[in-house]
């Protein structure tokens, strides 16, 4: 242990004080909101032993002084917890001073002044008297449950040595004739009791009968050693069990309030405390000095927080899901929300097992056992995931997976890179390579400032911490030279699985070389191998320097973002043998942005997965990229007309939205942004700007589009409409609710006149009021299809503000309305590239009017048939035919999302005429039930043409449009193409839908086999 540290508090506690305040102002609106605690702030009642033994000298001080210091720090640092203090009464023998009293009630939403007052009180406690553990806790129970005072007024008044502090009469209800407590446990915040003592109980039998009456116990409670009074009965364990299992205020109308008890043995280890904590059901800690006591309290508080997150949102430890390239290995990204910034993350692997006889597919763990709980959709607690050396790691983030493999590794053996070499060359991640000049700084001081550290020593510590050394003793094992939990949360970064095929002789077609690439908010991009889950290497972009110390300090407020965007890969298998082998000339390029982590896009060459090379980096300072916002938009790799290499072969390009402007975090109706307005096309290999469309003036590489007012956070959808293997059309949507189409006709890039490629605003769905402030955060889902003999391209997209997922109508305030989000199917009838400019309004209004589809653009929601009532399926025969006609006449359909605050926060996917949409609906905080409040994820399955229901989820004979899949913020389902040809959807963990939703979810569609398209006979 860190015995020599004296009063220095360690680890997390120290960290809070350092930068807590500087960070709290950086709070941003983000979907991390959904992980916040809705039930209320935790309440902690600290029961302090002030028995005479507490005055014993210890480490040059006294036990009491040490306790006072530690509690002072606790109350100061943990501003998100409301505290109360109970002190033991003097309990002198033969005197009526039994039990304990509340010296400072639990104050809701404690102010800084109230914290100061409490600290003053704590520091005036004097040691003297006995140790009535059970009696005092019984009084705590009376207080928390709002019953009459029993021991509270039995303190030894006027005694300067023992009971200095009076009881806090404000804890009592002034309207009651006899002193009666007012329960502080009326809200939904969890209540905890922490009992601290330095000795065995003494004069502590007074409450035993009351406790036995309370719990209905007839025999004796447990017999425990006392201090100087032999063995005696003590009902403390029975009492705390009752407090944990019974509604404290016996009022069912306001939900169930319980108290959880933790115990700390200071310079003592006793069975009574251990038993009490077991039934508390909290934890029991022992401490022998100041540092240990601080750690013990820290652990108790930390554990209390963990309980919190567990209380509020059962879906917290799990997030996104990955596409599998239809191998049967499935990789789960998960993370654990916390009220501090250094959330842990992990990736676990399960496998899809297909029963060839029944055709049933299920996810199995490393032992081949079913791994998903069919009701909740979560990984079973009994599952042991692949790679895990920990049995039953199941849903626990900090066990198993690649994270545990990494935790078990010596950080010195990790291969870490950072781009501090000349021209961004990757160098080993070490302080020697992190010189001021590598970062463009003139002095060490600037470098330290950038990293948020004070001096060389702290800089070294931070870099060591980044490498993975547990310099803050986060695992509280006393060692600082071991490995910490390295893998940070992957909030929005889905793992990317790259299949290198039989890259070397060690691999085969059946067992190919698969690598998993993921960025985390710890600032690193990691590559893991699928064989044993070991990390191959990790890359720390030097631009993320400040992230390291922020994560290390692990402050309370805000969230720190690093590499928070999903990476994409471009592969070129030159000889088309299915293996990506660098020596064959095969290429594997990786591209990733940072999302909220910054305004930078990186490209890496990982053709040899063992030696990554940074290809290029684009940021807002790069020439031509002034419009680049936060790189939220996941790029698409494609080829476009007019961009060829010297041999006339089309070169790969990257197409992406210009990014997100945090202006859109602001509350209120969306206003125009100043960055991110448009799209970029860059050379995938050189990073050179090929073309862009922004509000800037026309140039060789930019087409001016003045109508672009809002940032483009979503990805783009590109495709080839004429079968020439070059993408000639782009659809994208912006955060202002506008949908755009870009045409790239012809065989050449536009010249500086920018008059050959064209853009048109397809639709505008933001009505500019609170209720219609619709925003797009997803790429459009485009389906090339035909209906009733008319070919058209269906553009499917739903609105929803990703940065404000909890927005909902406030029933108490009719003016406080949420956005009524909708899902749209626009029919774009212009299926061929636009070769001409849009007709003028005169042409559009001429007689006969122009037939150009652009005369009808932009569409607005009223141009679409409202399918919300589903008359096409449910109406009378007349209604059905009228609805069919109206739908055909309209330019598509729109669906009002029916639930309060419901949003589409993921791209839809269409498979064989069925549209799969996932939505998120926040839940209002119900103060009266104290039940966990968590948003609901829904899965819609709709007919592409008429939005009719397609699936009978619950098997009751009627098809359902949607089903609640779980308390999650669902992502786009990942299609899995099974070996039986069936297409299944892999839903995020937590998608059990109460046992209704199978995981994987069978779509009923299958990958068609080869079929003939034309036939002819050659004449001789």
């Amino acid at each position: 242990m860190i015995g020599s540290v004296g009063y220095r508090t360690v680890g997390v506690l120290a960290a809070i004080a350092l930068v807590g305040m500087s960070l709290s102002v950086n709070l941003v609106a983000d979907d991390t909101e959904i992980y916040q605690i809705y039930g209320g702030r935790p309440k902690v009642l600290i029961a302090i032993d002030d028995s005479g033994s507490m005055s014993t000298a210890l480490d040059g001080s006294t036990r009491m002084a040490i306790v006072q210091d530690v509690i002072t720090k606790l109350i100061t640092d943990n501003t998100d917890i409301d505290f109360g203090v109970l002190e033991f009464n003097s309990n002198l023998p033969n005197a009526d001073y039994d039990g304990g009293r509340i010296v400072s009630r639990i104050v809701a939403d404690m102010s800084e002044a109230e914290r100061g007052n409490m600290i003053t009180l704590v520091n005036s406690i004097r040691a003297g008297g006995s140790t009535p553990l059970c009696e005092s806790t019984y009084e705590a129970y009376r207080y928390l449950s709002g019953q009459a005072v029993v021991y509270g007024d039995k303190w030894q008044r006027g005694d300067a040595d023992n009971d200095v502090l009076p009881r806090d009469v404000l804890a009592e209800d002034p309207n009651e004739p006899v002193p009666t407590y007012q329960s502080p446990a009326t809200g939904c915040g969890p209540v905890f009791v922490v009992i601290l003592t330095d000795g065995e109980p003494q004069n502590d039998t007074g409450a035993n009968q009351a406790v036995k009456d309370l719990v209905g116990k007839t025999g004796s409670c447990g017999i425990y050693p006392t201090f100087g009074q032999g063995d005696a009965e003590n009902c403390l364990p029975e009492l705390v069990e009752h407090m944990a299992s019974t509604d404290l205020d016996s009022n069912g109308a306001n939900g169930v309030q319980n108290a959880i008890t933790y115990t700390i043995g200071f310079t003592i280890d006793q069975q009574l405390l251990s038993d009490a904590a077991d039934r508390g059901p909290g934890k029991y800690y022992t401490a022998d000095n100041a540092a240990e006591l601080s750690v013990a309290f820290g652990k108790a508080i930390k554990d209390i927080r963990a309980t919190d997150t567990g209380l509020t949102s059962p879906a917290v430890a799990v997030d996104t899901f990955t596409r599998t390239e239809s191998r049967n290995e499935v990789f789960f990204a998960m993370f654990k929300p916390d009220n501090r910034v250094n959330w842990p993350g992990n990736i676990k692997r399960l496998d899809i097992s297909l029963d060839p006889d029944t055709g049933l597919a299920e996810l199995v763990d490393g032992n081949g056992n079913a791994a998903i709980d069919p009701v909740t959709g979560h990984i079973r607690a009994t599952a042991t995931t692949v790679w895990s050396t920990d049995n039953n790691d199941g849903p626990i983030v900090e066990k198993g997976g690649v994270g545990a493999v990494l935790k078990a590794r010596d950080p010195a053996t990790r291969r870490l890179y950072t781009n501090t070499g000349p021209g961004d060359v990757l160098l080993p991640f070490a302080t020697g390579n992190m010189t001021p000049s590598a970062f463009g700084f003139a002095s060490d001081a600037e470098l330290y400032d950038f990293f948020g550290v004070a001096d060389r020593a702290e800089f070294d510590t931070v870099v060591d911490w980044g490498r993975g050394y547990d310099s803050e003793d986060e695992d509280e094992d006393g060692a600082t030279d071991d490995t910490r939990w390295i893998l940070a949360d992957m909030l929005h970064s889905k793992p990317l699985v790259i299949n290198y095929g039989a890259r070397t002789n060690a691999f085969s077609a059946e067992d190919p070389d698969q690598r998993i690439v993921v960025g985390t908010n710890g600032g690193f991009l990691h590559m893991f191998n699928n064989d044993d889950g070991e990390e191959d290497w990790a890359f720390f972009p030097k631009e993320l320097g400040p992230v390291l110390n922020l994560r290390r300090q692990n402050t309370v407020s805000g969230h720190v973002y690093g590499v928070d965007a999903t990476a994409v890969v471009y592969t070129r298998d030159l000889n088309r043998d299915g293996n990506l082998i660098a020596s064959d000339g095969d290429k594997v390029y990786l591209y990733f942005g940072l999302r909220r982590g910054g305004r930078i896009l990186y490209a890496m060459d990982i053709s040899d997965p063992g030696s990554p090379v940074l290809l290029w980096r684009i940021d807002a300072d790069t020439a031509g990229f002034a419009e680049l916002g936060q790189t939220w938009s996941v790029p698409v790799v494609t080829r476009i007309p007019g961009y060829r290499d010297g041999d006339g072969v089309a070169r790969p390009v990257l197409v992406f939205g210009a990014g997100y402007d945090t202006n859109k975090d602001l509350q209120g109706v969306a206003t125009a942004d100043t960055m991110g307005r448009g799209i970029y096309i860059v050379d995938a290999i050189s990073g050179e700007l090929v073309w862009s469309m922004t509000p800037a003036t026309d140039s060789q590489t930019n087409m001016e589009e003045a109508g672009l007012l809002h940032s483009v956070a979503a990805g783009v959808t590109v495709f080839d409409s004429n079968g020439d293997e070059l993408s000639d059309r782009i659809y994208f949507a912006d955060t202002g609710g506008q949908l755009w189409r870009v045409d790239m006709p012809g065989a050449d890039l536009p010249d500086a006149g920018q008059d050959s490629w064209r853009a048109v605003k397809m639709a505008e769905v933001n009505g500019g009021t609170a209720g219609t402030d619709r925003r797009f955060f997803n790429a459009p889902d485009v389906v090339r299809t035909a209906h009733s003999g008319v070919a058209f391209d269906a553009i499917l997209i739903g609105s929803g503000d990703r940065t404000n997922p909890n927005d909902m109508d406030n029933p108490a305030d009719p003016n406080d309305v949420a956005v009524d989000n909708q899902f749209y199917m626009f029919r774009d009838r212009a299926i061929n590239p636009y070769f001409t400019d849009a007709p003028s309004s005169d042409d559009c209004n001429a007689d006969p009017p122009s037939v150009d589809f652009r005369c009808q653009l932009p569409l607005d929601p009223n141009d679409l048939y409202d399918v919300s009532a589903n008359r096409i399926q449910l109406g009378t025969a007349d209604e059905q035919s009228a609805a069919q006609a109206a739908l055909l006449a309209a330019s598509g359909w729109r669906l009002d999302l029916p639930n309060n605050g419901e949003k589409v926060l993921a791209r839809s996917i269409t498979i064989s005429g069925r549209v799969y949409i996932s939505t998120y609906t926040p839940q209002s905080v119900n103060e009266n039930t104290c039940e966990p409040v968590s948003g609901l994820g829904r899965l819609y399955v709709l007919n592409l043409f008429n939005a009719g229901a397609e699936v009978d989820f619950d098997g009751n004979g009627n098809t359902d449009r949607s089903w609640i899949i779980g308390e999650i913020l669902p992502d786009t389902p990942s299609p899995h193409f099974g070996e039986d040809g069936e297409i299944r959807l892999l839903l995020p963990p937590g998608s059990g839908g109460g046992g209704i939703i199978d995981s994987p979810f069978l779509t009923g569609a299958s990958l068609p086999g080869p079929y003939g398209s034309y036939w002819y006979r050659e004449e001789y």
Binding site: G723, T785, P975, P1010, S1013, W1015
Partner: protein, 162 residues
């Protein structure tokens, strides 16, 4: 009055008539005989041609049926001899009367990994991609019959951006 001499002057008519008849009969029979030979030849040719066509078509069907097997010719590349893996005993075309070798099949990759044809039961752009192939099948019995047919094939693959 001079009596008309009739008797001997008319004696050869029957011969001429008979000869004429004979000629006509001969011509008819010759024509008939020749017609039936041509018909025979024609029908034989038609039969050859038909059999050749069927064989060539069998080649197409046989190649198409290799999809999804170990010898899948739709593997993202040209396959000049899709039946290379087969012996004479298990050749899919071994039942042909003039032998499996009488049919020459080729599979060519036309375009790879591009957009799939527009469909009434559409799917998201990028969910699927399509490889386009053409199968040619040629059957020949030297100097008797020859047929060449071609089938365009669309193979759906997992798209790059599902």
């Amino acid at each position: 009055m001079i009596p008309v001499a009739t008797g001997p002057a008319q004696r050869g008519v029957a011969l001429v008539v008979a000869l004429l008849f004979l000629l006509v009969v001969t011509i008819i029979s010759v024509i008939a005989a020749s017609n039936s030979t041509v018909g025979l030849k024609m029908s034989a040719n038609l039969q050859d041609s038909y059999a050749s066509f069927q064989s060539a078509e069998a080649g197409i069907i046989a190649v198409l049926s290799l999809a999804g097997t170990a010898s899948d010719p739709f593997d993202g590349d040209d396959t000049p001899d899709p039946f290379a893996d087969f012996t004479a005993a298990d050749h899919p075309l071994r039942g042909l009367s003039d032998g499996a070798d009488s049919v020459n099949t080729d599979v060519y990759l036309t375009t790879a990994g591009t957009a799939c044809p527009r469909s009434a039961v559409g799917s998201s752009v990028g969910l699927f991609d399509c490889d386009y192939y053409r199968i040619t099948s040629e059957h020949e019995v030297p100097r008797e019959a020859r047929t060449k047919v071609e089938l365009g094939v669309v193979k759906t693959i997992i798209g790059g951006t599902p």
